[in-house]
Symmetry: C2
Subunit: 367 residues, 2 copies
Amino acid sequence: MSTKIGRRSLLKGTAIAGAAVAAAASSFPAPAISQGKMQLKLATSWPKQFPGLGTGAQRLADRITNATEGRIEVKHYGGGELVPPLGCFDAVSEGAADLYHSAEYYWQGKSKAFNFFATVPFGLTADEVNAWIYHAGGQALWDELGADFNVKPLMAGNTGVQWGGWFNKEMNTLEDYKGLKMRMPGLGGEVLRRVGANALLLPGGEIYPALEAGTIDATEWVGPWNDLAFGFYKVTKYYYWPGFHEPGTILSCGINRGVWESLSAADQSLIESCCAADNATMLAEFNARNAGALDTLINEHGVQVRRVSDEMLKALGEQSAQVVAEVGAEGGITQRVYESFSAFRKTAVPYNERSELAYASARLLTA
Amino acid sequence: MSTKIGRRSLLKGTAIAGAAVAAAASSFPAPAISQGKMQLKLATSWPKQFPGLGTGAQRLADRITNATEGRIEVKHYGGGELVPPLGCFDAVSEGAADLYHSAEYYWQGKSKAFNFFATVPFGLTADEVNAWIYHAGGQALWDELGADFNVKPLMAGNTGVQWGGWFNKEMNTLEDYKGLKMRMPGLGGEVLRRVGANALLLPGGEIYPALEAGTIDATEWVGPWNDLAFGFYKVTKYYYWPGFHEPGTILSCGINRGVWESLSAADQSLIESCCAADNATMLAEFNARNAGALDTLINEHGVQVRRVSDEMLKALGEQSAQVVAEVGAEGGITQRVYESFSAFRKTAVPYNERSELAYASARLLTA
């Protein structure tokens, strides 16, 4: 789902940068407080009504506002309303907004460590990444990374396993990737390059026209619910599963640290609970709507749904491990995050094999 | 994980019963309110420090207390402290406690519909049941069922896929179930009976001695984290995966309706968010701890981990569908719940096959 990364204001992850940010923040007004009420600005990377993501950001804003009876009023600005869609991190870092709702891989230009707090190719599923962040050291590392940029990060949603993408031809062997012009940004795009594809960056709004004009041959986005809304079925023929590039993308809520530290322990706890609640309900919404949308794509629009072959998945898996390990070898906090993530993955994969995977497979025997 | 069902106070799901309960509730004191503070009693079915379940109930109590700065103080009583472990539903229904933390299948003596709001054999996974309840009609049906008993129900945790159980012999064919004395309560136990086993009900604390004495040959409980704590590895040899009987057991928070309706919309919203937050964090904790505990069982205690054969899973799946359909045929709200649950399952299973299951399978190609 990622779009082109904003590379403005490339603060590096150092204590010096943190101090610079704190100094810069002082030139912005503090959050509006009047009559005991606090008004907070939530800037996002999504169109305001975008299904799942934009509606999820609205739900988070409403949740905090409602639970405090408006004492903390969170006003939601869609991407571009207050700052550009990918400018929300810098806006929060510098104090021009109070909170953002986005996905951390958009900030990989600042530190590649951010990838692990969104998703990486052949990485953890939604349930697994929740386990790592809530209960196996992930949050402490994320807090440390965020603090270098004056941000307190929390999970606030997940898309679940994303789909492999839309193609104009059948993808039967690894050879079919050679020269394929496919829209896929980030680390997933790098993996595609290594199997011979021409991976391209295109913002969401430019994908459909590019497919129609033949500028690209294929694209990925999120999954049936979001992809149906984009109408890709009108200009491509085959829809492949599963995706390898985003197996459980976290949506994050980042809070300006000055704002966070000005809150009482009670309000910090309340906001943590609201974010965790949205983490549960957004994944549930993707799972509920994706199932129905897949039926619509197949039965109403005649989409040909195909499975990516084991040969391709194996090659993509090998390249993914390589690409992610190269990121991890960068040293500093990126390496420490990679090592924590990888250690958790090493126990999570065999556990999943014996629980969720085994159960879901067993269920198909009589489905 | 279920224990023997308390069959006291068998209120039937009718409007008349609801009125009777409301009348009965008036003889209990209202929640303690002093100096603008409200003290609520949370009664549970678990020992207070029981990993995952008891600690989860404590986390929920703390979450509400902390987020309101003690304005709503939730005091956690372990099973047996205020009322017997399985008496918490009646206590909340009648107003002797304000909230319970438990699992709804314990109340199947009141209405079999409650099973669907905990788990049923070969039913939905944690992620799927979240989708059904939050976004596909489940909550409205649960609210209707709960209202007949003067209870407002919310999800507040999930164990994930439970394990198949502990055995003293290898289970190679369906014949091996014949005459097997296995501890498994509820609908799962009924399924076992239909494949020839002797399914027995035993409370948690009696399982270990019964295995040691040979009174039972096998048992299930939850999964590696909880089962390690019980020490079943000391008296049995084989640990089988996956379980078929509890694929994603919901832990629920039930609130006395009078208390619920006395809360402001803001406090209702806050409690809903706190419950949803615990729903996310408890499943994450089970997933994080189960993976580590499985390593310990295998590498430190030499447990022989085995997969239940396809032949057995297929037979158990067929019997499960039959047992669950018989429950659904009871008519009334049980039938409407069954129909909603089954309609959702019908789209969720093929969706899971193409998302979580497909991805987790693909990942093993290079694991």
